[in-house]
Symmetry: C2
Subunit: 328 residues, 2 copies
Amino acid sequence: MFDLFSVIEDFRAGGNSMLSSENQNWIERLVIPIRNDLLSGAAEITLQAIVVLKNILSVDKCKNPTELGELLKFAGDKLIEAQPAMSSLINLSDEVLKVINENISLADNKKNCLDALNEFEKDLCTNVANIADTALALMPPGEIVFAYSFSSTVVSCLLNAKAKGRYFRVACSESRPSMEGRKLANHLVAGGIEVILTVDSAMGMILPSCSIAFMGCDSISGPGLVNKSGSLLLALACHEMNIPVYALCDSSKFISEDRFFEFEKHERPANEVWEEAPKGVTILNRQFELIPFEYINGLVTEHGLFTAKEIPTYFAKVAKQQLQPAVK
Amino acid sequence: MFDLFSVIEDFRAGGNSMLSSENQNWIERLVIPIRNDLLSGAAEITLQAIVVLKNILSVDKCKNPTELGELLKFAGDKLIEAQPAMSSLINLSDEVLKVINENISLADNKKNCLDALNEFEKDLCTNVANIADTALALMPPGEIVFAYSFSSTVVSCLLNAKAKGRYFRVACSESRPSMEGRKLANHLVAGGIEVILTVDSAMGMILPSCSIAFMGCDSISGPGLVNKSGSLLLALACHEMNIPVYALCDSSKFISEDRFFEFEKHERPANEVWEEAPKGVTILNRQFELIPFEYINGLVTEHGLFTAKEIPTYFAKVAKQQLQPAVK
């Protein structure tokens, strides 16, 4: 049996990968578009990561199940490193590595991995559809919905509501420095939804006109949820203004606490914020931040809506099912 | 006696100015730099307005006290229209128009106006010095102070604290779209103060590292204070995080409620936020917003510190002294 956990331990201890540098370079090149993608939400990035892993399965770069496991392990680590806030990548990588079995043929291993990837992808899509139905029930007709940053789950929910005949408008802010708020606006107007866009600092000005706020979620664990920076201000402002704010999040984003704080590694280059800042000015450019559950009204998951108080119990249940190493 | 109030009523009723179009154009040209200045705080803009009014007094464009009053009234209105959130301009204009007297010579009228302008300028500077002393006493040594947008009063207080040997660092955000946070950072590092700058949406991330927050103030009246957009988010976040937040504001910013909402006129061009936004996207680009007193810990004025609860009483006292028409 492929010993995933010893490989993970090796990696954490700084052990070198046994892959050829040619294979390492190849995988690193495959991961570049995901590393450079500052505009996509976690679900979209996860779908792109599934494509990368399927690509690895489809080519002839390994001789046996152990080497396949090495390749997929290296790819998973690179994906996680590329987007450390998106814990669905950790879960995706774990899911595919779990099925590696040295006692069956390489071809059968590849087939099992592909099945695991397809299953993950199918679940992701089914989950988003379930979330969209719950979110629709929360949206008051004719009102303005605030949506922050770019989350493909949130976009799917809004487009679903529009397709089901619900009339509403969306307010959003630009999301400096990457401006993924513009991507959100582009997607929504293309789907026939009117958008009001403002600067991030004006969130407090537009929120009193909104009836509800939605945010996506990159990662979730005991201490709270992780999302794009600005989400905490949104949640605090909604909390003070009595505007219900929900995080839309499927269970692929759940992660154990020991791996939850990976997102803090995501310090982006200073020049994205200010090129040639004067000496004496330190730039802080972190993409993600932690939002404690107490500041949101609830979490909309594929299993329904959970209030802030219910989240810890729900999380414990999901964690028990999902985060246990499934030894084969 | 020059009847200021009938002229104001004429103006409000849409009455045409009796000035020649040459004089109107000349004054409008003088006001352009103030209209285009999106980076300066209210105290700085007021000092610039004093220069404009002194310029008008220094040239030979009118034949009698009535015409001088017309010129100064037109200039005052243009200044207020250029920066409608900055109520010190309303007070400045009122102060100078109050001294116009048709029963004395043009030369004596000009001298009285100049004295009124010099008095206003002197008060402004003395007030900032008093505010700086009170602010210094609030700053815990060795800590990080959050400062929002660009306020020359806040900058003066921070530079005063540094000059008095207090060690501290300043955190700020960029203040999209005009980026006056960069102007703040430039002024502070030039004065030897270390600065940490981040995007506006990351205020919630940096605030827990700060011990106190300062904002300037463009206008103040019964309902609250007006400052650059983003100030409300700052105040809400500080309120939730138990970080004391103070507005630094001299009494030239106090205004009666009937003229308080001028700031809402200040809608800036959409293309400052997003050039070529797609059809279906409406851009909201307002520079200023209202912050209810309940979200700040206090107001630092030239008369000392007033807590949120004490502000209404203090305001009533100042309003009584200051906002009454002083008929001469």
